[in-house]
C-alpha cells in the first residue's frame, strides 16, 4: 500500500502538515480556556519579534535549544535516543562555574571562555559516559539510563550547590556571582547596528558559538569518517558490524559528543546571563532539544529554524501569559508536547492517505507513466 512519495512531500509537506496539526490542536486548547486563538497567536508573535528586547530573548532561548537540539540529533544519527540532555546540560554547568570561579578575577572573559567551553563539554560528556558505556557494552537501554541520570543529576547538583558551592552566609542554593572575567558580553552593538535596542535581553556571544557548533556537527556527520560510522551504526547496526565499524567505540563517542553539546548549553545561561550557577537552570531546555531535533529532522539547518521557533514560543509565551491571564506559561509546555506528538510519534499519520492520493493521481492522470509501463511489461 505504501508507495514511495516524492521528496518534497517527504521533507516538506508532511512535516508542515504535522506542525499545522499541532498548532491547530494548541488553538483548540486556547479556545477551551476561553480565549481567542488568533489573538493569542498575534500576541505571541508580537511578544517574540515585535521589539528589540523580544527578539533578543527569542534568540537567547534559541541559543540554548540549538545546543540541546544538536545534542539529541547526534545521538539519533547513531540510533540512540538521548533523553538525558537535560541532566547533561545541568552537570555541564559545573564545568562552566569551575572555569569562571577560578579565573574571573584574573583574566578577561574571552580568556575564561575557552576554559568554560572545555569544562562544560567535559562535564556534559562525563555525564553521558556511563549510559553510553552501559548501552554499548551491556545493552542497557540508553533511554532508561539517561532518564535515571537526569534524576541523579538533579540530586547531585542540589547537593553540590547547597553543601559545596554555596558561599558561606548565603541562603539561596547558588554560587557567588562572577565578576567581569566570568561574564560574556551582550551583543547590544549588533542590535544598534540595525537601529534597534536589546533592552535587558541577555542575547550574547554564545549564539555564534552555537552556530559554529551547527557547522561542526554538519561537518562531523556528513563529511568525516567518524560521521559515516555513526550514521551507518544508526541506520543498520548489523551492517555496520559486518563492515568492520567498531560498534562499542562508535556508540560511546556519539554519546560523548551528544553529552558535550548538551553540556555546552550551560555556557549561555550561566556565563551569558545569570553570571552564577543556579538550581535547575536548564529549565527544561534539554527536553525542548528533543522537539527541536525532531522538527529539524536532525539536520543542523533544520535545528536552527526549529530552535528559533521554540525560542519564539518561550519568549512570546511569557508575554502572552502577561497579556492573557487565562493562558499561563504552561501553554508552551502543551505546544511543545503537541509538536513532539505530531511531528514525532504521529509522524506517519498522514502518509497512507497521501500515498493513496498520489498513487491515484499517477494512475488516473497518466496511464502510461513509468510505473504502469513497467508492470505492463512484467
Amino acid at each position: 500500500m505504501n508507495h514511495p512519495l516524492p521528496k518534497w512531500v517527504d521533507y516538506g509537506l508532511i512535516p508542515l502538515l504535522n506542525l499545522v496539526t499541532a498548532f491547530l490542536v494548541a488553538g483548540l486548547v486556547v479556545l477551551i480556556v476561553g480565549e481567542n486563538p488568533f489573538e493569542a497567536a498575534y500576541l505571541l508573535v508580537r511578544g517574540a519579534f515585535g521589539y528589540g528586547g523580544g527578539i533578543g530573548y527569542t534568540l537567547f532561548y534559541a541559543t540554548n535549544f540549538i545546543f540541546t537540539g544538536l545534542s539529541v540529533a547526534v545521538a539519533i544519527h547513531c540510533g540512540l535516543f538521548n533523553i538525558g540532555s537535560e541532566g547533561q546540560a545541568y552537570v555541564g554547568g559545573i564545568g562552566v562555574a569551575a572555569a569562571c570561579l577560578a579565573l574571573d578575577h584574573y583574566v578577561p572573559w574571552f580568556v575564561t571562555l575557552p576554559f568554560a567551553i572545555a569544562g562544560a563539554a567535559i562535564a556534559g560528556a562525563a555525564w553521558a559516559l556511563i549510559p553510553a558505556w552501559l548501552q554499548a557494552k551491556r545493552g542497557s537501554h540508553v533511554v532508561i539510563t539517561t532518564i535515571m541520570f537526569n534524576f541523579i543529576a538533579s540530586a547531585l547538583m542540589i547537593y553540590l550547590l547547597v553543601e559545596v558551592l554555596k558561599p558561606a552566609g548565603s541562603m539561596s542554593p547558588e554560587t557567588r556571582t562572577f565578576v567581569e572575567g566570568g561574564r560574556i558580553p551582550k551583543l547590544d552593538w549588533l542590535f544598534e547596528l540595525f537601529g534597534s535596542s536589546l533592552g535587558g535581553a541577555p542575547f550574547n556571544w554564545t549564539f555564534f558559538l552555537a552556530l559554529l557548533c551547527c557547522y561542526l556537527v554538519w561537518l562531523l556527520i556528513w563529511r568525516t569518517r567518524l560521521g559515516y560510522e555513526i550514521r551507518t551504526t544508526g541506520t543498520n547496526p548489523t551492517a555496520a558490524v559486518y563492515a568492520g565499524i567498531p560498534q562499542v567505540r562508535t556508540i560511546v563517542i556519539a554519546m560523548l559528543i551528544s553529552g558535550a553539546l548538551a553540556g555546552m548549553m550551560a555556557i549561555n545561561p550561566v556565563m551569558g546571563d545569570q553570571a552564577r550557577l543556579q538550581e535547575s537552570f536548564p529549565a527544561g531546555a534539554g527536553f525542548v532539544g528533543i522537539a527541536v531535533s525532531l522538527m529539524g529532522r536532525n539536520h543542523p539547518v533544520g535545528i536552527i529554524f526549529a530552535a528559533i521557533l521554540f525560542g519564539m514560543l518561550w519568549q512570546g509565551g511569557a508575554e502572552l501569559a502577561f497579556d492573557m491571564p487565562n493562558i499561563s506559561r504552561d501553554m508552551i509546555v502543551v505546544i511543545q508536547g503537541l509538536v513532539i506528538l505530531f511531528a514525532g510519534a504521529l509522524e506517519h499519520m498522514y502518509r497512507p492517505a497521501l500515498s493513496a492520493i498520489f498513487f491515484m493521481r499517477q494512475s488516473s492522470g497518466a496511464p502510461a507513466s513509468a510505473g504502469q509501463a513497467n508492470t505492463g511489461e512484467a
Partner: protein, 320 residues
Amino acid sequence: MDLVIQVLDSTVRLSTPLLLAALAGLYSERSGVFDIGLEGKMLAGAFAAGAAAAVWGSPWIGLLAALAASLAMAVIHAFASITVRGNQIVSGVAINFVAAGLTALLGQSWFGMGGRTPPLSGGQRFNPITLPGAEALKDVPLIGPIYEGLISGHNILVYFAFLMVPVTWWVVFRTRFGLRLRAVGENPAAVDTAGISVTFLRYRAVIICGLLCGVAGAYLSTAFNAQFGQNMTAGKGFIALAALIFAKWKPLNVLGACLLFGFLEAAGIRLQGVALPMIGQVPVQLVQALPYILTVVLLAGFIGKAIPPKAGGVPYTKER
C-alpha cells in the same frame, strides 16, 4: 517499635502510587509497548480526580474522571505506537509534556489558584478505613500494633493497589489473556499466525495500563493528599518505571521493588537532618537518588540481569 511501625506505615502509603503505576506499566510493556508516559498519565489522572472531586464533592466521581483522563492519554499512546507505528518513546515523552502543560494550564484557568485545585475535605476524598477488630486487638503485643497501625487505617485505594498484585500475577500467568499478552510481547508474529489480533491485544494492554495509572493519579490527589498541586507526581511515574525494570517485569517482584523504593522515600523524609551513629549525616539527596542509582546498577547487570520483553518498542507490521 512505634518508630518502626510509623516508617513502615508511611512506606505503605508512599508505595501505593508506585505500585499502581508499575503494575500499569507491566501490562503495557509485557505486550510489547514501551511506556515512559506513566508519569503523564498519572498526572492527568490526579488533576482530573482533584478537579472533579472538588466540583462534584465525591471522590468516586473524581476517580471516574481520573480513569477517563488517563485512559484518553493511553489511547493516544496506543494509536501512535500501535496503529500509526510511531516511536513509542517519543510518544511517551509527548504525553508527559502534554499532561504537565494541560493540567497546569487548565487548573489555573478553571480555579485560578496557581495551578492547584480547591482543597478537599471530609467526604470529598477517600478516607481511612478501620478494619474490623482493629480497636479490639490494639493492646495485644506485637500483633496489635502491626494490625492496628500498619494494616488497618488505610483508604480503599491502598487496599486495591495491594490486591492488584496477586490479581495481576493471576491474569498474566494463569489466564489465556495473560499467556497471549506475554506472547505478543515476545513474538508478535507467532501470535498473529495463531489467528489472534496483535493490534487488539496490545490496545487492551495499553488501556488497562491507562486505567491503573488513573487510579494512581486519583490516589495522589484525593487520598494521599487533599488537592491537586502542579506537577504533583514529581517523578513518581519514573520511579515506578524504575521499579518495573528493577522487578524484571514480574508482578510479585514489582511489589518488592515498590515497597523498597517507598521505604527509601519514607526513610529519606525521616533522615532529614538526622545524624546516624557511625555514618554521620546522610545527604537527603543521596537517599532521593537511590532508586535511580539502584536501577542503573541493576541495568548494568551487576545484580542479575533485567531482560525486557523481546518485542518491546518495536511496532508490529504484518508481513505481506
